[in-house]
């Protein structure tokens, strides 16, 4: 069965690009969240295998969302997605439960290599 993925990014641009890459590689994108709070709700409701979290998001940022989703104790992996310059935040996210990270700009190989190494 294909892995279920939840994407959280405040730009439709990145949600669409990520979804295209993931769908093309056989992942099942079950939800798209536009902020960290939505991501938390959708992670609890949709029970995805994987959550990709952008770091800079309104309402609840990616780090806060990563901490909150980890606290749900669900069988899922979290991958942070961000631009260069946010390494300290990514490190903190990994200490709080995230399994890996993708640095923007996105490329198909970068995204898929990271996910394959985690799942």
């Amino acid at each position: 069965m294909s892995k279920k993925v939840l994407i959280a990014d405040d730009t439709e641009f990145f949600r669409t690009a990520l979804k295209d890459i993931l769908s093309g590689a056989g992942y099942n994108v079950v939800g798209e969240a536009a902020n960290g709070a939505e991501a938390l709700d959708m992670a609890a409701a949709l029970k995805p295998d994987l959550v990709i979290l952008d770091v800079v998001m309104p309402v609840k940022n990616g780090l806060e969302a990563a901490k909150a989703i980890s606290a749900l104790n669900l069988p899922l992996k979290i991958v942070m997605c961000t631009s260069l310059g946010y390494e300290p935040i990514v490190e903190e996210a990994i200490r709080s439960g995230a399994s890996g990270y993708i640095i923007k700009p996105l490329s198909e190989s970068k995204v898929l290599n990271t996910l394959n190494s985690i799942i």
Binding site: D10, T11, E12, F13, M57, P58, S83, P105
Partner: protein
């Protein structure tokens, strides 16, 4: 990753972020330390940076990156916000808008951003505050500053074509309607009736689809006012009312330049410097108010300022130098006198500045408003302010009009201006006045106004017209126009006059009747004022 397929999405979201940045920066000027505004701005820059990096739009990415750094320092409190910083960011915003336009047009992004990057870095390291204030962005012109969404522009062209085709359909329909008069076939008459309903429905739908909110145009105005105020060193705030009124895209677009000119004149000529206002006990900042209201199928847009008003004596002196005779000027009603500012080259500004130039502007405004069948009024109170009132249709092209005839020629009069149609004996009209609704209204002959020879006939038709349209704070100005006869009320698809016949001031457009005959739509204020002038001379 093939990024070309994400271009439309990139442009759409970047456009939204750029609007968000503009609004954010302007609100930051009012509340420099507002942390939620700073957070939002940071995210806008961050998103543009990420998307631009993925698309490979390097100058955009580098700008957004440097701006993001600057915003990060502002929101963390490491750097205090200043007017100089906002000015740098606004300047960068303009460049990002140009870059986005180039992306849209598939043009190379060869804009040099290095000096902007330098300014941003200097600002981020706290140096900008010590340097001279950054020059404000160049005054925004109508073409650059008040642009509507270009996505709509693409679709808009399509709508223009469809609307033109609907216009042709209306003409075909009216020839069919003429044919039904001589036909006994019920099926044919029913068919034409149904066709008429469908064409009308199609027309209404397209007109609706072409409507855009005034808000779309007004969104660019706060920035314009801000830049003009900075340039002149005045304190001005902008308020708006009724921006949820929608207008046809073409009319809205045509309003861009007039609005910029009016606001420019208000800030530059009308509004006094802060110390002068303080002395006079007037509030600071000064206010420019844009108010829109609807009147049936027309809209009235008023731009008022609380500045010093128009100086009649100066205006008269200027008019004299333009060769208008002293006697004429003294006898002019105030409303006519104020309209002199619409003559090309007539400005009362004491100094020629880079903003208001040499009084070009108001003539452009008047021409633009009249070109879409509207009219302009000016009210001004010395020391209290000036109000420019533009009245115009909300939609273009299909006008309900009455077909009238005089000396064998046919003309159209817009129904919106007609108060009443009365058939009378010719001798009742000879006095030059007619008693209507308790007052005497002037009566003029259409044939005389147009210089056509009038055939004698026992009865004629008097059409009572509302000369200024549905607006006028002093009440309606009525006048009677004498024609030989009138016939149908028609839905006329009116096309604007093109050169050389655009010089015909008595007509505001032309339409082709069902049988192929071209007919002019008469410009009511022009006809009446011309005829009244003629009457005074004789």
């Amino acid at each position: 990753m093939d990024v070309s397929k994400y271009k439309a999405l990139y442009l759409q979201e970047t456009g939204e972020h750029l609007s968000g940045i503009e609004a954010g920066l302007l609100s930051l000027e009012q509340n420099p330390g507002d942390s939620s505004v700073l957070d939002n701005l940071f995210r806008h820059y961050h998103s543009i940076k990420g998307m631009s990096a993925s698309m490979g739009y390097e100058p955009m990415m580098r700008l957004a990156h440097a701006e993001e750094d600057l915003l990060d320092k502002l929101r963390s409190g490491a750097l205090a916000n200043s007017e100089a910083i906002t000015s740098v960011l606004l300047k960068c915003l303009d460049t990002k808008k140009s870059l986005a336009e180039r992306v849209r047009a598939d043009e190379p992004l060869d804009i040099d951003v290095s000096s902007l990057l330098e300014s941003l870095r200097a600002a981020a390291s706290g140096q900008a505050a010590r340097t001279a204030p950054f020059p404000a962005a160049a005054p925004v012109t109508g073409e650059q500053g008040l642009k509507l969404s270009s996505v709509m522009k693409v679709e808009g062209r399509l709508f223009d074509e469809v609307l033109a085709m609907v216009g042709d359909l209306f003409m075909t329909l009216s020839s069919f309607k003429t044919l039904t008069h001589g036909s006994r076939s019920i099926e044919f008459k029913n068919g034409v009736h149904q066709l008429g309903k469908t064409v009308n429905g199609l027309h209404d739908t397209i007109i609706f689809a072409r409507m855009l909110l005034l808000e779309d145009l007004a969104a660019g105005l706060p920035r314009l006012v801000r830049d003009l105020a900075k340039e002149t060193g005045k304190e001005v705030s902008l308020t708006t009312e009724g921006m949820d009124i929608s207008l046809d895209r073409t009319i809205l677009e045509g309003l861009g330049s007039p609005l910029v000119h009016i606001i420019r004149n208000a800030v530059d000529d009308g509004i006094e410097p802060a110390d002068e206002r303080k002395k006079a006990g007037k509030p600071l900042p000064a206010t420019i108010n844009i108010k829109a209201i609807t009147r049936k199928d027309r809209v009235v847009i008023e731009v008022s300022d609380d500045g010093k008003g128009i100086d009649r004596e100066k205006l008269k002196a200027k008019a004299l130098t333009r060769g208008i005779s002293a006697g004429k000027i003294e006898n002019m009603p105030d409303s006519e006198l104020l309209k002199l500012i619409c003559l090309p080259g007539l400005s009362t500004a004491e100094a020629v500045t880079s903003i208001s130039g040499r009084g070009v502007g108001m003539d452009v405004v008047k021409d633009a408003v009249e070109s879409f069948g509207g009219s302009l009024e000016i009210e001004s109170k010395r020391y209290l302010g000036t109000k420019i009132i533009m009245e115009m249709p909300r939609t273009s092209s299909i006008t309900k009009a009455l077909l009238v005839e005089t000396s064998g020629e046919q003309f159209l009069l817009p129904i919106s201006r007609i108060e009443k149609v009365i058939e009378l004996e010719t001798k009742e009209l000879e006095a030059g006045f007619y008693e209507y609704a308790g007052t005497e209204i002037p009566v003029v002959s259409l044939a005389a106004a147009l210089g056509i020879k009038e055939e004698p006939r026992p009865r004629r038709t008097l059409i009572v017209l509302d000369v200024k349209g549905t607006y006028g704070s002093a009440g309606k100005t009525l006048a009677g126009l004498v024609v030989d006869d009138f016939s149908d009320e028609i839905d006329a698809y009116v096309k604007p006059l093109l050169p050389p016949i655009s010089k015909l001031r008595e007509a505001s457009g032309i339409t082709v009747l069902g049988d192929g005959r071209p007919v002019f739509l008469l410009d009511v204020p022009q006809i009446i004022s011309k005829a009244l002038k003629g009457a005074k001379i004789s």
